[in-house]
């Protein structure tokens, strides 16, 4: 009898099963956490079975509190599994639980992992290396350039780039990967159907085509401050190597770094100037033994990918006229105003300005704000 039913369920396909798993997941907010869900699934076999159990049977199981039983009963009454599942499918969101083959192997067996993931697009592939590029939301031009360059070079070599879609370094990491035609995944601190911050909507939609957005939260969950540090553990789990591009002494990135170390991931940091507060966290990590990310090649080497030389960050050895060279050498990795550049190069301001425009048109430098210039690339 039981065999027959199992066979019938198999024929129904996963969908039939999954809509009940989705229901079970939705009880998160009502006091049924991952631990309770795991125990329920173990005891009764699947979400569908839990859905079918009588209240007395649930009580007999012995491990549920009265409140939790009430939540399950109430949840059954209000939740329409078919309707809700159709809604989810309409949004293009997939759901996978930890006991299914699609669930990321990198996350299995780690403590504190969620028991299910919602995602749009796809999940990171197991057979490809993945690198998390993280850092401060308030990024300097240096951090921006480094994030773009590292993510770009790594993604071009086939590495999957993982980050948190936050403002600053996270966003530049995704952007660099996408610009290089690579694959990138964003782990969100809200439902997978929501884009936060809203200004990253372009990245958000683009990365669903070239990778995916992942969340442990039920679709529709609004962003909340506490959810962001929590999702960092998933970033740490999904990567093979964690690259911190720019972090202050006390930064949210340190949470991710500690998680990554706990999960046995390699940690690299991009060094900064010794007196630069925005890089102090990175420098401290290097001092504590993190790998020094001098170039993407060093990271590729860690994965045994031999780079063809293209992935070196090349110092722009360009053939420029002497005056242009003079001006270019005065433009640094941090924004510098026109008058300072003019003074340093010893050329009249108006001539300097013309050269700066020329350099800008040739793509060597960038004007980050009116008459503030910074080098492009590293």
């Amino acid at each position: 009898m039981a065999e027959k039913r199992a066979a019938a369920e198999k024929e129904d396909g996963g969908d039939r099963q999954m809509k009940y798993e989705y229901w079970l997941q939705s009880l998160q907010g009502a006091g049924i956490g991952p631990a309770a869900r795991r125990r329920l699934r173990k005891t009764f076999g699947s979400g569908r079975e839990v859905y079918r159990q009588r209240e007395t049977t649930l009580r007999k199981a012995g491990f549920l509190k009265e409140k939790q039983i009430e939540a399950i009963v109430a949840g059954r009454r209000t939740w329409q599994p078919d309707e809700k599942w159709a809604e989810l499918e309409e949004k293009g969101i997939c759901f996978v639980t930890e006991d299914q083959p699609g669930f990321p192997k990198r996350m299995q067996g780690l403590p504190g992992m969620p028991d299910g993931l919602f995602y749009r697009g796809s999940l990171p592939r197991e057979d490809r290396p993945s690198v998390a590029v993280i850092g401060a939301r308030k990024a300097t031009s240096y951090g921006k350039n480094a994030a773009l360059a590292f993510a770009g070079a790594l993604a071009a070599a086939g590495v999957q780039i993982i980050s948190g879609l936050a403002a600053g370094i996270d966003g530049y990491g995704h952007q660099g990967a996408l610009e290089a035609g690579g694959v990138t995944f964003g782990v969100l601190g809200c439902g997978a159907d929501q884009c936060y911050p809203a200004c990253h909507i372009g990245l958000f939609t683009e990365m669903q085509k070239k990778g995916g957005v992942i969340s442990e939260y039920i679709p529709g969950t609004p962003p909340a401050a506490w959810q962001f540090p929590v999702r960092n553990r998933i970033i740490a789990a999904l990567c093979d190597l964690l690259l911190v591009v720019e972090a202050k002494e006390r930064s949210g990135s340190l949470i991710t770094v500690n998680q990554a170390l706990e999960y046995g991931r390699e940690v690299y940091a991009v060094p900064g100037r010794i007196n630069d507060a925005n890089s102090a966290g990175c420098n401290a990590m290097i001092q504590d033994g993190a790998g020094m990310a001098m170039s993407p090649a060093a990271i590729l080497e860690y994965f045994g990918i031999h780079d063809s030389g293209e992935n070196h960050i090349q110092s722009n050895k360009i053939s420029l006229a002497t005056a242009e060279k003079k001006v270019y050498s005065c433009v640094g990795l941090h924004p510098r105003p026109l008058d300072e550049i003019a003074e340093a190069s010893g050329l009249p301001a108006r001539q300097t300005m013309e050269i700066l425009l020329q350099l800008q048109l040739e793509g060597y430098i960038e004007e980050v704000a009116r008459q503030y210039y910074v080098r492009r690339g590293l």
Binding site: K138, S141, G168
Partner: protein, 516 residues
Amino acid sequence: MFCSVTSAIVQGLSGQLVSVETDISEGLPMFEMVGFLSGEVKEARERVRTALRNCGWRLPPRRITVSLMPASMRKRGSGFDLAIALAVLGAMEQYPVKTLESAVVIGELGLDGRIHSVPGVLPMAIEARKQGITCCLVPAKSAGEAAMLHDMKVVPVEHLGDLVRQLQKGALPRKKPILWEQVKKETEDRSRVDFGQIRGQTVVKRVAEISAAGRHNLLMTGPPGSGKTMVAKAIAGILPALTYEESLELSQIYSVAGLLDPEMPFLTHRPFREPHHSCTQAALAGGGLVPKPGEISLAHGSVLFLDELPEFRRSVLDMLRQPMEEGVVHIARSGDTYDYPADFMLVAAMNLCPCGLFPQAECTCTPAQVARYRSRVSGPLLDRIDLQIQVPKITYRQLAGDASDQQEGEKERETQEDSAAIRKRVQAATAVQRRRYRNEPFSANSRIPGEKLDVYCSLTGEQHAWLEQVYDRLGLTARGYHKILRVARTIADLDGAELISDAHLREALSYRSGDR
């Protein structure tokens, strides 16, 4: 007995003649005033009655009717007092009525018979001249305003009693006409900042020159204390010198606003207006219960400087858009629309973030804060600003000058130009533009409409090709492209060039605004 005296009123910026008629006839003793009068005009009855008594006249115990014509026009203000008093006295046959036949009478009466000034004497006098009136009796304090009109006999009056005695004698004293050109030469503009006083900052000075030459609106960004206000003040000083006609127009605005100084009752130099950022809509654009010109009209033909642009209320800033387009501001009141000229040049200053240090590493603002700060200035307003420049912090060397570096200072002093030299170039460029646009409704490069750009800012094929490249590379917009053409035209005019050259285009590109 009947008597009529002509007075005037200001509506918006134009004067309008009002005739004050008085009739004294048999009947119960009363003093009645008619003619669509507002409260302050009705009160004139008490002032006139008391002033007459204090000057030694007693109103006859008969029926006195005063009528102000045309009766369909609402009459405001206290400028009719003197005319009413003279009309009453005329009806009492206290002086030969003929003496006032071709005169306009303006002034407010004190209870002691002294005559006080009212705003708007100049536009009233101008209107009177237009109507063929050759003499005007105005309060002594405002006499200078009217004396700008050379073909007008201006009689300064101080006291009602004295005036009537003079009328009885038939000898009215005349104020000497003011020779504007001469006064202008004598009055030096002491309030101005001279570019000669500003050390270094060559790029800023250059942009100021371009901005003045083409009347381009300018946005200065930069850290606090870098001298943005000084530069803005100096820009007002390099605009072409004020002509008599321009001064007459400007002085009328100031006359209506009641801002003319009795010592110097007209403008000899272009004004510099610098409203504080707590300024209201009415203060900036003009308005009020009795509409008065606002800051933008007071800056007509000159510089309106808005410091800390994002601190202004957004609704206040957005109101600038229409006047910036048309050069006139329309203020509608029930029954009346007032048009004030407002062809000003906007010079604005702002920091790039709340702490003022963006984009340097020391800036402590979050990206969201920076974005929010900048979004306080609306895009459409920025679209109307052609030039943007960073005003760098003044270095110690620039401050201390030659003391710290003898040779450098020597060199710098040589290249230090004063405003007079810059103004000469600006004036030449302005003349070129006026000639070029003589058949157009506009007269400055910054006002060339989009569809006329092809005519006046034509480029060669190569330049088009180059600009197309730049367009994509720098991510310009259509508006941004137009601005570059207009600015390039001005740079070419400063250069005395007929055609826009590559160098002009490149320079214009460096000062482009709006895309960040």
